[in-house]
Symmetry: C2
Subunit: 216 residues, 2 copies
């Protein structure tokens, strides 16, 4: 019963996601679904990216959280259009929530849309939103065993950003073993080490992003 | 429809959890449900606790993960009974999974049972397992805003362990603001700063645990 309902929900979600993608395409908006564990650095990454692309690319943001509007308030200070979704108890965003948000964003003024998903390494990987690319932010303090424990998320990602590499000296984390484990699950994925604190790797990330946008 | 099904599932889960608790009580087993984000340090905490209580308290462990048996292999090296649950895609343990695991553990040889939940700050808070206490491990690198974003988890916890405090010098984290936010959600909760790397606070945690066991 539970499984049947879940299948129905996922199938309905796919259809809505496809409709979202068509809307985004018709408006020329490139959408990125940002996923990670709680506190891996999604919001910091969005802030860094907005600052690097200021005056060059028009950015909009959808913030997803179970509760609170902290992230939308933080991002809103950068003078970009932002909408906060509160899921209540739901542990992921879905295409229906995104449709509502898209209807309330000035899409004609947006070239690049960040959708910050709920902090969770499991269910967000199952729900398409209509995004063009899926970005997984995985941070050093979480440990290098995460691909084995959360394989679907690593399988679905188009790029994995290894965040907080400035903490490498203080933690046991084998970057090579981590990258090997990811490639074992997802051969085509790009892996970029970054630090939103020191700025290391952010330029490579922004280049990757602009390259994806130009290829569309 | 989705909500109705969820209510039915949660209600059935409560009944199973109550049965698990009765079984645990009849065998004199004190069970702890350990919850956290991915990589916050649940397994390290279990290992540290086993080492501190060696020869004093007989411990058993249930390891919950979406995939892999890495944690059960690690814990098994400490020569305690351990069972790995793989949830497949499910983002939390439930009482039914625990019932199966209990039937395969030597409960007569266990006084303290750790149930390591799936790394996730959302859904595990909704599913009772039959545990006597809920422990939330929240680590410094996740940031001090987590209580606002994941209020149910902080509301349900009997104790919050602030883990990885050895990383405090390298991160922006306001321990007082964090504690205040937690107390705003959950007045009765205990808050203990710890580090599984340096051992700081582990004695206080073990004392809390033994105190809870003795009070039963």
């Amino acid at each position: 019963m539970e499984i049947k309902v879940l299948k129905d929900i996922l199938s309905a979600n796919e259809q809505l996601a496809e409709r979202n993608r068509q809307l985004l395409d018709s408006k020329g908006v490139f959408a990125v679904n940002l996923m990670s564990s709680p506190g891996a650095g999604k919001t910091s990454l969005i802030l860094e990216t907005i600052r690097r692309l200021k005056g060059k690319t028009r950015i909009g943001v959808i913030e997803g959280d179970v509760s609170s509007s902290l992230d939308a308030e933080t991002v809103g200070k950068e003078s970009v259009p932002v909408i906060q979704i509160n899921t209540g108890g739901e542990c992921h965003l879905d295409a229906n929530m995104i449709e509502n948000a898209l209807n309330n964003l000035p899409l004609q003024d947006i070239e690049l849309l960040f959708i910050e998903n709920v902090g969770n390494l499991i269910c967000p990987a199952e729900f398409a939103l209509g995004e063009h690319k899926k970005v997984l932010v995985s941070s050093i303090p979480e440990g290098d065993d995460k691909p084995f424990k959360y394989p679907l998320m690593f399988h679905e990602a188009d790029v994995v950003l290894i965040n907080k590499i400035d903490l490498l000296p203080y933690l046991k984390f084998d970057t090579q073993a981590f990258s090997r484990a990811i490639k074992g699950i997802n051969e085509r994925v790009e892996i970029l080490p970054i630090s939103c604190t020191t700025g290391q790797g952010i330029q490579e990330w922004v280049s990757w992003l602009l390259n994806q946008m130009s290829r569309r």
